[in-house]
Symmetry: none
Subunit: 219 residues, 4 copies
DNA sequence: CATGAATGAGCGTTCATTCAT
DNA sequence: CATGAATGAACGCTCATTCAT
């Protein structure tokens, strides 16, 4: 989700201690509202109420426009997720190891930040420019996701750890699988985080590793 | 929220020949608008324009409320997709065969109905009831998808074709993989439909089939 | 409430057996809706539902416009009330006797036709012409009410039964007192019909009769 | 129906000097429109025009919803009427004196505030909650009126000034008589305010006072 | 006698935003 | 740093009515 906006940027007031606290308070409220009510219903009025502030004016004061607030939400959530994942994959050397570590780290972060995940989702799928195009469109989102995973897959193919496959589609699939696991962990006939990690790492290995079964199927 | 009334004020007039044509015309326009502009921007005014009709009143005349229109869009699109898939999987006998046929049929339908897919997506992820809950929530959507796929996976496990895995998560993953392939087929470094089918059926086989490699990994 | 429209008149279809039944069915439904929901909310849609018919078109077919329907409601209710009262006062000869009989008859009819009373009320107080003036305005309503009562009062003054007072204001007051008794009979700390009759006839006697007390107060 | 929100979307901004002026301006306009056109036709658009403001948005900004505006109208009018009456009755000691003073004061206020009276009337008889029940129903209105008058009547009975009668019905009747006098003062064959006061106080005395005539009639 | 299709006008409400302090 | 006042545009929806059969 790598955004150029990153951590810095937004509205007129450029940094101060109290200002940062306010911004954080509003972002947190916005994330909860996004997760609960979806993008379209995430109005300034609702965010104001959730944040316990007195006027929507305070939001536009700190973030300027709604788009900028959403940018900030996205940057905040995506940044913290990437940081968590990066820390866990740093020590891995093999492509297979990095892949497993990524899956485990991402699942763990997701399980612990369901609202933030949902919020990122809502923003990416709904935020649009004036011309109607998605501001963080399918392409952008796909590329962001792929950007992290595909280099690992390519490295694995070069090193001979992985079989031949389309690395872009595989990256998309693995990302989608991790996202799908959210539903598996949260909806009624639940699976535990640990079980999901085991299932998905197994699946990833079977899907990517070079092996007799895989070899036979490819021509 | 008022119950549907009818006459002066709203309910769907009981089907007639001319009425069905109008409904179809409006549904088609709604699908296109949903795909282009997203749920929140799919206003009656935009749909009116796209359908080339003279008044938004005509929409509420035929569908009552916006929710009912969206229901009709969803029923229309989902129905035609399921019909297409059902026809293609009917002849298959083995679980593996049915799985492959499903993936191929679904990918083909998707590739030929991108707007409808996007529209279904927008409705499912955004349509909410008065109380704020998703009308076709993650659970409902997940269950619908899982409902089609999981019985096949379970049958395959019983028949010994498939290895042991969580059938629900696998169903979710395979569905997510198919959806992810949309991006692979449409965004710049494109893959053809045939290539996607081959990649995904291969992936599905590796992930589900009982085999030496899979056996070794499971304890 | 003497209306020129009376029992005859209305929309295009001029009398038939089935048509009259339909008209009656719709009028009855309209009265109930008026009593329950008030004039503004007495829409064709609601009346349609209450009458159990399939389309609002049926209403406009039989009555033309909403105003004409309301005229018919008023004529129906007012006519039946006047008829009931007239029958009871016919046998009285003295002004005092006619006054008491009127009060008793009107209170009885009201107690037995609360919905119709309420409906008449709603129509008279709310039905307006295009120019914004009340179609059965305060004047018209007042005159209708006064028209029945005032001649009796004047006769009583001429015959020496009644003291001197403004007959118009007295007529308005007595009518208002009877209407006020509705609340006394229907709201929680209820009074019975018989008690109301006794209280109001007593009050009317005291207010109208020539007597030592009254004489002393007038100069 | 949404709770009041505020900021972007509606709640009454907490009183300020300029704000109160605007509120007063809008309330005055609303009263005039209610008196002229009735409740159903008292739209924001009409009130805007009458108040000479540029947008209906200004109304919802200051009052939130239409119901809240109507509440404010009612509170404003009823408050000023009660204040006027209270001031005039304060000095009276006997029940009969208080009753006469009330009638005179109320008639005077009414004669000077016909629009406000009509507006209160329109709001009470027409404002309804979501469930269709009158927000200031017959019961509530009756009780409010009765609440002022009945204690006086009861006190008069205890002190022996008044005869025995149902105090609630008498209160309702006297209130209705005063309201009826509006028509007498405004419709063509007019009576002056002073004449109405004399007629009604006489009537009230005859109806309530203990006396030979009254005694004879009661058993 | 009854119905279906269509319609233009208007409703109250909500939206994010801007101009002032 | 924060707030109050104001605003134009758009929303979905409901209204009674009319033109066809």
């Amino acid at each position: 989700m790598q955004l150029t906006i990153g951590g810095a940027g937004g509205a007129p007031p450029r940094r101060s201690l109290a200002s940062d606290a306010r911004r954080g308070q509003i972002i947190t409220a916005a994330i909860e509202v996004l997760a609960e009510h979806g993008y379209a219903q995430s109005t300034f009025a609702r965010i104001k109420r959730k944040a316990g502030i007195s006027s929507t004016r305070l939001i536009s004061y700190h973030f300027g426009t709604k788009d900028e607030l959403m940018d900030a939400v996205l940057a905040d959530a995506a940044g913290s997720m990437q940081a968590a994942i990066a820390e866990r994959t740093r020590s891995e050397k093999t492509a297979a190891g990095m892949l497993d570590a990524r899956i485990e780290a991402e699942l763990e972060w997701i399980a612990g930040h369901l609202s933030a995940v949902r919020a990122m989702y809502e923003v990416c799928m709904n935020a649009r420019s004036e011309d109607g195009t998605l501001r963080f469109g399918v392409e952008a989102t796909a590329q962001a996701n792929v950007g992290q995973l595909e280099p690992i897959l390519r490295a694995g193919q070069r090193s001979g750890e992985f079989r031949a496959f389309d690395t872009v589609l595989m990256a998309l699939t693995l990302k989608a699988a991790v996202d799908a696991a959210i539903a598996r962990m949260t909806c009624p006939p639940r699976l535990s985080l640990a079980e999901c990690v085991r299932e998905l790492t197994t699946l990833a290995r079977l899907a990517t590793r070079r092996g007799p079964d895989a070899d036979r199927d490819r021509r």
